[in-house]
Amino acid sequence: MRPFVENLPFLSIFLALLAGIVTAAVRSGRTAYWITTGVCAAAAAMHLWVLEYTYLEGLRFTYTMGRFLAPYGNALQCGPLQALLASAFSLVMATCLAGGRRELFQELKPGKQRLYFTMVNMLEASLLALTYTNDVFTGYVFIEISTIAACSLVMAKDSGPNLVAAIRYLFMSLMGSGMFLIGLTMLNSVTGHLLMPALAEAVAELRLSGDYRIPLTVAVGLMVAGLGVKSAMFPFHLWLPDAHGGAATASSAILSGLVLKGYIVLLLVLILRVFSVELLAELGAANVILAFGLLGMLAGSVFAIRENHIKRMLAYSTVAQVGYIFMGIGLGTTEGLIASCFHVLVHACCKPLLFLCAGRLSAVSGHHKSLRNLRGSAYRDVGAGLGFTVGALSMIGIPLFGGFVSKFYFANAALPTGMTALTLLAIALSTVLNALYYVPALLAIWVRPPAEDELAILGDTHAEDLAPDRFFAAASLLLILAVFILGIFYHPITDVLEAGVRLI
């Protein structure tokens, strides 16, 4: 009989799946909303408990799904890294739902609300499963769930542009899944395993013996590229701005802050647990990832500078931030991977904050989205203005905010590698580019426009949108706190990450 706390990862995944099934059958959208938020909050609490257990005891455990031991049946693997990421994801999921609550109920047709929350629950389950899985095929199954649910979030808001964006997203995403699946079957046929520990042994053997070199290379390439397409790695990012920029506020926050991270975490775990950093460097995959990451950091920001639609600007900024994460992976060192993990956390808090605040600012400006029409909007909802400011400063990388610490760690990780100059230069350049679009956006929301413009905007605004939104205020306060905690008290968190990577 194992300690009860070891059941929690499995229980939280099943809870989210069952909540998804139940919310499809409940009558009212409000009930579905409360079930979903409750499940996410409960999952966050459960994973915090798991985190305490694994970190303080300094252990990891494998949870067999059923009575069948490691190489035969499905299993979950849990250490401090997984528990930390899972609790952060669940918490942010609940926060996104709270922050975008008002707009969700305004924009979704009543008949579709419950199905929307089904999708959110399934996304939560797939995020947790992708984080915890110790079986590559389970990873694939939950990638599928995540794909369908994410596309449904985009198309839940009924409009032409959204449907087009959802179709593009679906095609690109399915191509990514397909590549991952082909890579997975190739890997399975040269190793004979699907569970990660057994797979790792077989891959290490193949690496030493040099057998099946070409299929192994192609398999690794396809799996990395498949996950890269799905997490908007730079040259495959074209689906992202339409999908994330057009969706409802809560959807954008969830898609940008969390869904991409599920795939990235799976990739990180695959690299750490199965392929090993050395194999990736040997096959040359690390350099390709690094190049795509660096290009993404710069290109994403350049595209964002050209945007004047605030949500599309944030979406392009996501491309740049994902580029940072891939740069950390591509450095090919454990420090780089830890920096990437930290940035996953920072971005998972920062981007939802920015999207929620942008949604609120646009709600108090008559649902206009162009920066020009948002001028002075921060005074109409000061909380949203402050939240946006905190998020933007963190994205630029100002000290005391979370983004600074991750840039610092990236720079540190780049020092012992052969790519120091290139990486540091790219970080510096990308910081300047980030400032080039976030500072004008900040000035736009904080500088009052001429009186007649403001009156025109106010004329478009509904009174109910101007009323203060308590749920939003709580959500944004929580995320602001998270950004500051990541920026100031980051040592405990990086300690957990280091322990987690060691125990992966």
Partner: protein, 292 residues
């Protein structure tokens, strides 16, 4: 000369901006065009025009780029496949202790007669539950996309005449066929433990029976067989029962408790069957008439 003047001008503007003498909007908001606030109607048209332009540009380079990418992918995959272990040889890496165990001990460890069922419901049952959730989600996604609002008489009016038309040949052929289909489906579901993937194939047949009913005798009679409420209840109940039973199975197995759930696989397969049947019937109904 000209350069110099611009430079000075820029510096003057910058200093005055830093000193706070000047409204920063025109200089700092350089990313924004000065545009009138958007009207809902304009955006729609604007979007269509923009989209057409984008499509035009897209089709200019799409065929060539697609051909190149496809050829490269084909070449890479062919080279990889040529270097992979040959099909069906005894010393392939996949013929290892894992498949050996599935074949030799599958029966005693899972209690299932069939090795395929032992694997998909027993050893790798979590994946199968995930796949069932994928099916459930797929129908939910189509509902989000296609489901019409419940109280809209306009849609119902345009739809009715089409559905009244019955096809004599289809009807006469379906009349003797449907009972047998449902019978065989029930047989397959009840024997799903001992057949490979029994729940899935039985469920498909059950769904096909419903689709044939709906196609031959019209939506009315299919709805009499399985109304909207019943459909939703069966679908939810099937997956929920599967989830709860399988969750209990995992919990017992992982904690090493005494297993009192005998014949569990039969129940699991029945639940899978219900989910599959509802999925394919749901797709048919939603795509053909926009509602269950």
């Amino acid at each position: 000369m000209h350069e110099d003047r611009r430079d000075k001008n820029l510096r003057r503007r910058l200093t005055s901006w830093v000193d706070g003498e000047r409204e920063p909007k025109d200089q700092t908001l350089f990313v924004m065009e000065q545009r009138p606030p958007r009207r809902a109607r304009q955006t729609e048209e604007e979007f269509e025009r923009k989209d057409r332009d984008r499509l035009q540009k897209f089709f200019n380079w799409y065929p060539a780029a697609a051909a190149v990418i496809c050829l490269v992918m084909v070449a890479v995959l062919l080279i990889a496949v040529m270097n992979m272990p040959g099909f069906g040889q005894a010393d392939n890496p996949i013929n290892n202790e894992v498949s050996d165990r599935y074949l030799k001990h599958g029966r005693e460890e899972t209690g299932s007669e069939n090795a395929v069922t032992a694997m998909i419901v027993g050893y790798r049952g979590f994946d199968t539950f995930g796949e069932s959730c994928v099916m459930f989600l797929a129908v939910a996604a189509v509902m989000i996309l296609l489901a019409r609002e419940e109280h809209r008489p306009a849609d119902a009016d345009t739809e009715e005449p089409e559905e009244e038309r019955a096809d004599l040949i289809l009807e006469q052929a379906a009349r003797p066929l449907i009972p047998f289909m449902l019978l065989i489906a029930a047989y397959m579901l009840l024997h799903s433990e001992t057949t490979p993937g029994g729940g899935f194939s039985g469920g498909t047949l059950l769904g096909a029976g419903l689709i044939l009913t709906s196609a031959a005798f019209g939506a009315e009679s299919a709805q009499r067989l399985l109304s909207r409420r019943q459909y939703s209840a069966v679908r939810t109940f099937g997956l929920l029962a599967y989830g709860l039973l399988y969750g209990a199975y995992i919990f017992i197995g992982a904690n090493g408790l005494q297993n009192h759930l005998t014949r569990l696989f039969l129940l699991l397969d029945l639940a899978v069957g219900l989910v599959v049947a509802c999925t394919i019937y749901g797709f048919y109904a939603l795509f053909s008439r926009g509602r269950i």
